[in-house]
Symmetry: D2
């Protein structure tokens, strides 16, 4: 089922911190009109950690209804406990999610050895009515899932793939080498999309695709068409802007980029603060340079 480019959609907030559903709907129609293969709701970039459980459910239901099968929808349903993750994942299934995206529990980092993680994902997958995608995200969780536990989990019929944001290209190679043939390896960062595709990755879930969906999809297409010189040029062009909106400036930066590219970023929710003026100007300059830069080799 999984291929191509998904984007983990941002959640626009009003200045008072409430969810801005109007802006959300505006963005949804724009994303639906692109070549994106699907959307991830309640992912990291959706600031899912800042939403109450009630808000998460409401937002998930809203988006699934609004999209109305025009794009695939994956819902982030990670909780720290096995029972809460199962419960929420089944609520997502009920609401019509195509799949759920699940992080390793990560508060007790030292306790999350292969055996605990294998048991966790197995128990969740075996008790939910929806396909499960693993989300390996060491930068936020402090946990690097090993390729061997991922290979073991890939044999579970209800675990269909992984979004891997480790940035470790050898680890990506090991997964591609070892996982079950029906299991999909996605990467989670536009900074190394091309090298991952060249190793056999099937696609990606990219924060950058919130604001630059066409370019992200174009890179996949260039790779498919074996236009490698052009693909390299586009990949190299994307590195800097991607670093800014996923690393240096984070979600507040990504929201500025969305505003600039015709979407509605809205405010981040506290504790995140809006990008301060100096950083905002620096980012707008980078976006402008990006737009002006030719990448055809």
């Amino acid at each position: 089922m999984l291929k191509g480019i998904y984007t983990p959609i941002i959640t626009p907030f009003k200045e008072n911190g409430d969810i801005d559903y109007e802006s959300m709907d505006y963005n949804l129609e724009k994303w639906i009109a692109t070549d994106l293969d699907g959307l991830v709701v309640l992912g990291s970039n959706g600031e899912f950690v800042f939403l109450s459980q009630e808000e998460k459910i409401e937002l998930m239901i809203h988006v699934i209804k609004k999209v109305d099968k025009r794009k695939k929808i994956i819902v982030g349903t990670s909780c720290e406990s096995t029972r809460e993750t199962i419960k929420f994942s089944n609520q997502a299934a009920q609401a019509g999610a195509d799949a759920v995206l699940v992080l390793p529990p990560n508060y007790f980092k030292k306790a999350m050895n292969d055996e605990v993680l294998f048991t966790y994902f197995t128990e969740v997958a075996d008790n939910v009515n929806v396909p499960l995608m693993i989300y390996n995200m060491p930068g936020n969780t402090g946990i690097s899932m090993t390729s061997s536990v991922i290979a073991r989990l890939s044999k579970n019929k209800n675990i269909i793939g992984i979004k891997d944001t480790s940035g470790d290209i050898v680890h990506i190679g090991e997964m591609i080498r070892d996982v079950d043939k029906d299991f999909t390896v996605f990467v989670g960062n536009a900074g190394y999309l091309l090298p991952a595709l060249c190793l056999g990755a099937k696609g990606a879930t990219l924060a950058l695709a919130n604001c630059l969906p066409e370019d992200c999809c174009k890179l996949v297409q260039l790779h498919r068409e074996n236009k490698l010189a052009e693909a390299i040029a586009l990949q190299l062009k994307m590195i800097e802007i991607n670093k800014m909106v996923t690393g240096v400036y984070g979600i507040p930066g990504l929201k500025v980029a969305l505003d600039q590219k015709g979407y509605k970023g809205g405010f981040p929710r506290r504790p995140l603060l809006p990008l301060e003026q100096g950083k905002k100007e620096a980012l707008l300059k980078i976006i402008e340079e990006y737009d002006q830069q030719k990448w055809e080799s």
Copy 2:
């Protein structure tokens, strides 16, 4: 207000994962009968991350009622968003908590610079009706709060102290040097309690005090009485068992130690798994050696 030894009480679960209130009450009476200065409910060792919001509130209210002012009670009220932390902290105030213990938000690690953390803790402290204690816990959060942001926050009248589990003794010194004089520095690990006291720390919140409250309190007393040779002997004796139940074997190990020392540890909640047999035996042997070892120099 804060001094001496607090323990972040564990939450005993039944095998099916439900909270075992009977065992909780049993333990509470035992802890109340010790020299402990207070209890922390919904701390890391209470597996707060595995409880639903409803369970957290129920458990907090239950414990505060049961203890009935026989010990000070600090409630862990950390949520990732500012608004959720304020809401929950005020619920704790309402329930009768003496203070709340608040972690830095930590999912978006790279975004948590001094300014974001200063704003977060200030906004929470300024909007809650209960004294706030900062909880710096890099091992679980991946975030090391700087001594300079802690010094700035110490000036806020409603921020009364810090539990610091960084393990960085120079950082502890910097805090003691720089914080407001009414602000209390506690450490959060029994492995370096004596060196911290010798630098001027006022006490500690210790997982180990769940099962060894007397020895933890004794070490504080020896330091107060300037019996340093005995204090060193006791501190060195405590390092190994502390490492086992806070680091190597974690909460499942701590629960085994509680069972062994006459408390009711119960099961950990999934994804945590009960200690496997071989590790359990190794731990019991360490506990036995601990009990047999004389520490008076």
Copy 3:
């Protein structure tokens, strides 16, 4: 000048720790008979840090004479001080080296900021009579050179390229994007050779090419011929054996692999210890599996 595959040749030692020149000469003739583009003498895998300065000079002269221009020769001339590196690099130039490979000084890790590193490499490059290749090797040095200082250094006419063993594929992309057009980016690990080539890297200096020179050269060739499915299969096949002889078992493992593949590995020099029997058997099994595995897709 730089392209294709170089190997940083090992130094075979006798059991008493003396250099085994006979084995060295045996290996040299074998490597010369392969498609390798060149050899690196006194690289990490040559255990250069264990040789006295006198031994280094003697070995360098010996190898350059023996190879007699049948392959390009790069000499590792890193010392910690600017003056020693200049002196030794000029001795290498005198001996006939085609280039020198220079690490950042790395004992004072915290002091090695961009300015110190820029000044170091500039002063060395400006005072030696031989082209200089930068060697970024965070795993051994604890120093990650930034892409921006590398881009600045790439403008120096006497700095002709970099061997980068960071493993950070985004960093590799940034270098390819930013360096002077005559500056060559090589990677230093066979585990991610294909992804690096797909981003525009010109070649590699590979420990694995000591024992598997043909396969390393074959991967470059498959990439050049745009046979990507075959290239992926070969790259994935190489990951495990490469991990064993460069990471897990290190130089003692690499020497066992050389023995197994018809070269003469000899002993490592103390403090390195020969691979113990159990590990040796495990490695031989991996080599056997490697040899039996077909990689044509």
Copy 4:
């Protein structure tokens, strides 16, 4: 033999990079006139890594003769190979060193497991005619020696102690708990001298003692006399200046501090650059504040 405060003496260089023996002799007489228990020659702060082997031997002989038994002398004799370390250590013994200070070999970080390190230090100790002190310095070497291998090594009659600059106070406790009773634990940083003494450490080797020998010795004395409130005040006062001259500004900063305190710092040797003007002024201000600050509680 080992107790109290040693200082790893800096090596003053002329602007052209040559060793400035005149300044060295000037400093030696000043250090000899203090309460320091001994000097370390060719330590990290002596920039030993930037000296040729010939310079090291010359400098070692010069200092030992000049000091002429008025202070204990420890010589840093670390080389990467076992044979070179043995050779150089015996040269130090011949020259009259009281002990040698030896780092773990550290270029091949991943290979330096407990077994390799145990064998290395054992082979060195068993083949040299001078007592050996281990130097655990993770910040520069990237290697953290475990307390268990240190405990095993402490049983060797010719291994008399350790200088530990790990900064890990629990690790320090473990060593004090486990080492042979004739084995001395020294710490290597003035930022945590008091907590280490309070755990049972016997002394320290401190870069800061180059420029503030009296205060470093005073802290040991206050601890001995059980004047803990004064000791805390002095320890807290020392943290900031120590951080600046050992961490933030490193050796170039330490040399500025020496100049300011009446010693002759001289130039650092390249690649290290003299402190730039802005940093120099910032450091001088910190030194001035240090001098004006009362620490008696």
